[in-house]
């Protein structure tokens, strides 16, 4: 099997009896055909290293097989011990977790069947290394830079953390100032102090730190219009709109504003006030200068003539700025649900039906009423306020969102508390679906109740007008009675939904979105900041509804993730796809079929991003021209491993091959670690992806003596559905080769559910017995 000119060394580890108590090592040594065969008590020890190295160098070994524990425990160790041999010319036969630990029960001195299996496993490894090629691990170094898209509290926090770690950071904000929603929120809730704090006072130091950090470049009036990813870096194209006011020259004197006669609704006050066409977004904005809203400007030139600093010029054009960065953090935030989509609440019909955001502005000292709490219709302090929760949230009717927006309960309680403290005579009723105040917020909720805020459980049906004032019609579902609540002001707690910027940026970066159009994390449980695009992270309300504290947490977490990549680069297994450009005709089929989004066309060539390619081989199958291959000769290696397993198969003996990927292999190790058992007939081959096991491999194995093939796949794998679907085709092919298609088994595998995998091995083994009996 091994070509004559390749010298193979086999090193067998006794593992202090863990292996040698069950396996007859002497018989193994006698049965193996190799140039060097050594055994040692602890191969992983420093002495073991000496033995291996001496033989590799002294006997000029070309290939090495280590028969010991699982790759999970010591792959890196032995890859280092075989140096100067290329680490990928060494293979480990797992004779502990997947052999001696699962077949230990025996009356003899040694378990003979398990000993046979060890010989088979070593032969399989010899087969595998005989076809392996030297490859070098790929280390991708990323530039020491990052782009943060979105200049709200999440984006600023992320940028600040990156800047402080010495990473060059571009903070890209579409509007004329950084600050985001937090700048206009007014007071923010603070559960521990049971008090409300000034949002801007908390935001300002962060904003100043961002501005003064020399590693951060703030780009306002700018948006990412294009993004390309190449190994470890992103090429971005940023479009910057002119401010028409030179920030360097502008002294913020405001003389220009007085002469401008255009009036435009001011978004910073939720349109409750007007601003001029030349304006400053808010007092503490950055850059601290005026800006012209060119869409609403008639270019009369009055402001230009008025400006003593000559800072204004209308002859400016959009600028396209290319950036190359190592990573990106998407912090593009949210917008609020359109209250007109719930016409029954009369947002457009009644002036005194407002949103919580507008109430925040009305209560803000820098807001339209200078902090005076009043009805918009008549300027009087409302006596009765009714708040309606879940407007657009927890709503499965058309246009609604099924999710809970998470912060609205606290926002309503906060605004209610502020009102109650300043205006104790005002009655406040909050109509809620459920009050959700987890953790410390529960205290805040109790505090609100104690201050006399009333709560009615029920989702109001509509807001009407009766005898000159508003009425909110609601069923009190606790008392089970219909109520008509009088109100001078009705406040709608509108849902948080992804901003337009979030939708746009998801498309530009090709990151997946959840069913609700938020940016989706790679794994919502354990990878809360990574996206399915390597090197792109998400923070804040772009990912799901959350409060300021959670946004900052996620922002700093994503900054750490960027720092990990910047500091160490990314080491990648080298078994990735490779394109022969001579043959490739750029049909693009491979791009379509790649579930890992690692392929693209750049400069008239297929570009494969090594960071995201998993080596699954899906593209190989799709490529009509056979222009794609996977580094490392994996196809041949699978064949020769199969041949190794089936070598010297005795009549009546049963050999089943189980192909498992990383997850399945770890689950199989867990069977051994927990000392469960399964039949000796099961021989496990580890593959990069079970997708690499082709019909030809399976047919070959069955034809050359395998009694059964077991394929295990983790259902969370991107390729799972496809592989499951392919099984039908392969079974048909087996049938066409006059073999029983039931000899192929396919199963889901999970790391913690190792006992299930053991059971499936046992079941499959007895099923093969039945099939074999039938065949006789």
């Amino acid at each position: 099997m091994v070509s004559d000119n390749l010298k193979v060394g086999v090193f067998i580890c006794k593992c202090g009896g863990n292996i040698s108590d069950v396996i007859d090592i002497e018989r193994v040594k006698e049965s193996i055909d190799a140039d060097v065969i050594e055994e040692y008590t602890n191969l992983c020890s420093i002495n073991g290293r000496k033995i291996i190295r001496d033989k590799v160098i002294g006997d000029e070994l070309d290939r090495v097989v280590i028969a010991a524990c699982s790759t999970q425990s010591h792959l890196k160790t032995f890859q280092a011990y075989v140096q100067p041999l290329n680490p990928y010319l060494m293979d480990m036969a797992n004779i502990r977790e997947q052999c001696s630990w699962v077949h230990s029960t025996t009356d003899d001195d040694f378990n003979q069947k398990a000993t046979d299996k060890v010989i088979t496993l070593i032969n399989a490894s010899i087969g595998k290394v005989s076809k392996s090629e030297p490859v070098d691990p790929i280390v991708v170094q990323t530039p020491n830079s990052a782009a943060v898209v979105g200049g709200g509290i999440s984006g600023m926090s992320a940028a600040l953390s990156l800047g402080k770690q010495g990473i060059k950071t571009y903070l890209i904000e579409e509007s004329p100032s950084i600050g985001g929603h937090m700048a206009k929120i007014g007071k923010v809730f603070s559960p521990v102090k049971i008090a409300e704090e000034c949002g801007l006072c908390l935001l300002n130091p962060v904003l100043n730190d961002v501005v003064w950090n020399e590693n951060i470049e703030v780009m306002t009036n700018s948006k990412v219009v294009k993004a390309n990813r190449r190994a470890g870096s992103f090429n971005l194209l940023v479009e910057t709109k002119p401010r028409y006011v030179d920030s360097e020259k502008c002294l913020s004197c405001g003389d220009c504003v007085d002469v401008c006669d255009k009036l435009i609704p001011n978004d910073w006050n939720d349109g409750l006030t007007n601003r001029k066409a030349i304006y400053k977004p808010f007092a503490q904005c950055y850059p601290d200068s005026y800006v012209i809203d060119i869409d609403n400007c008639d270019k009369c030139g009055d402001c230009k003539r008025e400006c003593k600093m000559d800072a204004i010029s209308f002859r400016r054009e959009n600028e396209m700025i290319p950036l190359e960065v190592g990573s990106v953090i998407l912090a593009t935030g949210h917008k609020l649900f359109d209250p007109d989509l719930r016409p029954e609440y009369g947002y457009s019909r009644f002036k005194d039906v407002i949103t919580q955001s507008e109430l925040g502005r009305i209560l803000g000292v820098n807001g339209p009423t200078k902090g005076k709490f009043q009805c918009l219709s008549n300027g009087e302090v409302p006596k009765n306020v009714v708040m309606i929760q879940c407007v657009g949230s927890r709503d499965d009717t058309p246009n609604g969102h099924k999710y809970c927006s998470k912060v609205c309960c606290m926002v309503a309680l906060k605004n209610a508390n502020i009102i109650k403290h300043k205006y104790p005579d005002t009655n406040i009723i909050i109509c809620y679906t459920d009050i959700r105040t987890p953790g410390m917020f529960e205290k805040y909720y109790k505090h609100a109740q104690a201050s006399g805020i009333r709560l009615v459980r029920g989702r109001p049906g509509e807001v009407g007008k009766k005898d000159g004032h508003l009425v909110v019609r609601v069923e009190d579902t606790v008392k089970r009675e219909f109520k008509e609540l009088d109100a001078d002001m009705v406040v709608l707690s509108t849902a948080i939904e992804p901003s337009e910027g979030t939708n746009e940026i998801a498309k530009i970066f090709d990151v997946s979105q959840s069913e609700d159009n938020f940016i989706k994390e790679a794994n919502p449980k354990i990878k809360p900041v990574t996206t399915d695009i390597q090197g792109a992270f998400v923070a804040g309300t772009a990912q799901d509804p959350k409060d300021i504290t959670d946004s900052i947490l996620q922002a700093t977490a994503s900054a750490s993730k960027v720092s990990e990549i910047v500091s160490n680069g990314i080491e990648i297994e080298p078994f990735i796809a490779d394109v022969d450009y001579e043959i490739c005709d750029l049909c693009g089929e491979c791009i379509e079929v790649c579930k890992y989004k690692s392929m693209s066309i750049e400069k008239d060539r297929i570009f494969i991003d090594p960071m995201s390619c998993s080596g699954c081989g899906n593209c190989i199958a799709k490529c009509d021209k056979n222009a794609i291959s996977i580094n490392g000769n994996i196809d041949e290696m699978i064949f020769s491993t199969i041949d190794g397993i089936l070598k010297d198969k005795k009549p009546g003996e049963k050999r089943i091959i189980a192909f498992l990927d990383d997850i399945g292999y770890t689950a199989a190790d867990n069977i051994g670690i927990n000392r469960l058992s399964y039949p000796e007939s099961i021989h496990i081959i580890k593959v990069i992806s079970v997708n690499r096991v082709m019909p030809k491999h399976i047919i070959h194995a069955l034809k050359t003596g395998a009694d059964g093939i077991f394929i295990g796949e983790y259902p969370g794998d991107l390729l799972y559905d496809e592989i499951e679907h392919n099984m039908k085709k392969i079974r048909r092919e087996i049938e066409m080769n006059n073999m029983n298609p039931e000899r192929l088994a396919f199963s889901k595998v999970y790391i913690p559910y190792f006992s299930g995998l053991a059971r499936k091995f046992i079941e499959f083994d007895s099923k093969i017995d039945e099939i074999n009996d039938l065949a006789k």
């Binding site: 989509l341 719930r342 016409p343 029954e344 457009s348 009717t397 058309p398 509509e462 009407g464």
Partner: protein
């Protein structure tokens, strides 16, 4: 917007229409003929069971077997597109179609009944009829034919205060199929609008029930009448003269019970009730008695005719132009029916 058919239509007879307001059916066929809708009314049709079903007389299985029979009938007649005059027929048959398509076990049981009775031709196969593509309310068809409606208008209603009431079983039972607003229903307003008339639009309790509630009117009469009263009060606040609806149940509640309400609450109402088909028929010049059947109404409809004016050619031309523009706008992409408040302003000749 979903595709609304104008051919191969089975105009589904309604018990309440036939018994209480037969003019609704004759008005519907009158209007259908004018606006070019291909329909047929079958004598083989029965009740949908709706009234009985909601009063706990017929169970869902009986209703489903009955519905499946109608579906088979529609295929036999090659008229698989149902147009309902009654919101309850609409909701009941949509539900039956969904059940038959989604519940294999139920479908088998229904087919067993047909086998037992020797009615093999009635057996239902999955997706023979789909709720969204085959079952419509007459209002849907009117809505899709607004341009044709505008072209056939003879009389000017623009001096009347007209309000609309959208039946619960049209808006609230299958809201994914409802056209022009669930939370702010305005499909009748849009059709009335196509006759060059501005409606009252939104009024307090617009979305609320008429109060009928099938058995509720009899077992919880106070509750039922209170709900009707809420609506009447609000309509009165808006000085409503004509109330237009799309369901005979609502029609009975507002028309037959109006004298009772007036007596009970001590207030004169005088709100004329018309089904949308009756309204269109009058606007198109139908005979008030032979076609519209106003003699069957409790609240007299006659006063309306004293004030009705013929539409001038000039006004008609403007209406046709404006409606055409509005229909094209509605059919354009990205149009949000729920948030729509755009109306054609006729008198000012809006551009």
């Amino acid at each position: 917007m979903k595709q609304i058919p104008d051919k191969n239509i089975l105009l589904f007879k309604s018990c309440l229409v036939s018994i209480e307001y037969p003019g609704v059916e004759s008005s519907t066929t009158f209007v259908f003929d004018k606006i070019g809708v291909d329909y047929f009314v079958s004598r083989e049709q029965t009740c949908c069971t709706g009234l009985g079903h909601y009063s706990d007389v017929f169970d869902q299985f009986t209703t489903t077997v009955n519905g499946a029979r109608h579906f088979a009938l529609s295929h036999k007649l090659n008229r698989p597109n149902f147009a309902m005059m009654c919101a309850t027929c609409y909701a009941i048959n949509k539900r039956v179609a969904n059940l038959l398509n989604e519940n294999d076990e139920l479908r088998d049981s229904v087919n067993d009944v047909f086998d037992d009775c020797g009615f093999e031709w009635m057996k239902y196969e999955k997706d023979d009829i789909t709720s969204r593509e085959n079952i419509f309310h007459v209002i849907d068809i009117f809505y899709s034919k607004r341009k044709e409606i505008a072209e056939n208008i003879k009389y000017d209603f623009s001096d009347f205060k007209i309000a609309t009431h959208h039946g619960c079983h049209y808006c609230k039972a299958h809201y994914h199929d409802t056209i022009e607003g669930v939370r702010n229903p305005h499909i009748i307003d849009d059709v009335v609008n196509a006759c060059g008339v501005e409606t009252v639009g939104w009024y307090d309790f617009k979305r609320a029930t008429c109060g009928n509630g099938f058995s509720q009117r009899f077992v919880h009469k106070d509750l039922s009448m209170d709900a009707t009263n809420d609506k009447f009060k609000s309509l009165k606040d808006k000085n409503t003269e004509i109330l237009i609806h799309l369901c005979p149940n609502c029609h009975i509640q507002f028309d037959r019970y109006q004298p009772y309400m007036e007596k009970h609450y001590g207030e004169k109402l005088d709100i004329i009730n018309l089904n949308i088909a009756q309204f269109l028929a009058i606007a198109m010049g139908a005979d008030p008695y032979n076609v519209v059947g106003i003699q069957t109404h409790t609240v007299p409809v006659e006063p309306l005719f004293d004030r009705l004016k013929l539409l001038s050619d000039e006004d008609k031309k403007m209406i046709i132009e404006n409606v055409s523009r509005k229909v094209d706008l509605d059919n354009s992409a990205d149009f949000n029916m729920e948030a729509d408040t755009i109306k054609v302003d006729f008198k000012k000749g809006a551009k």
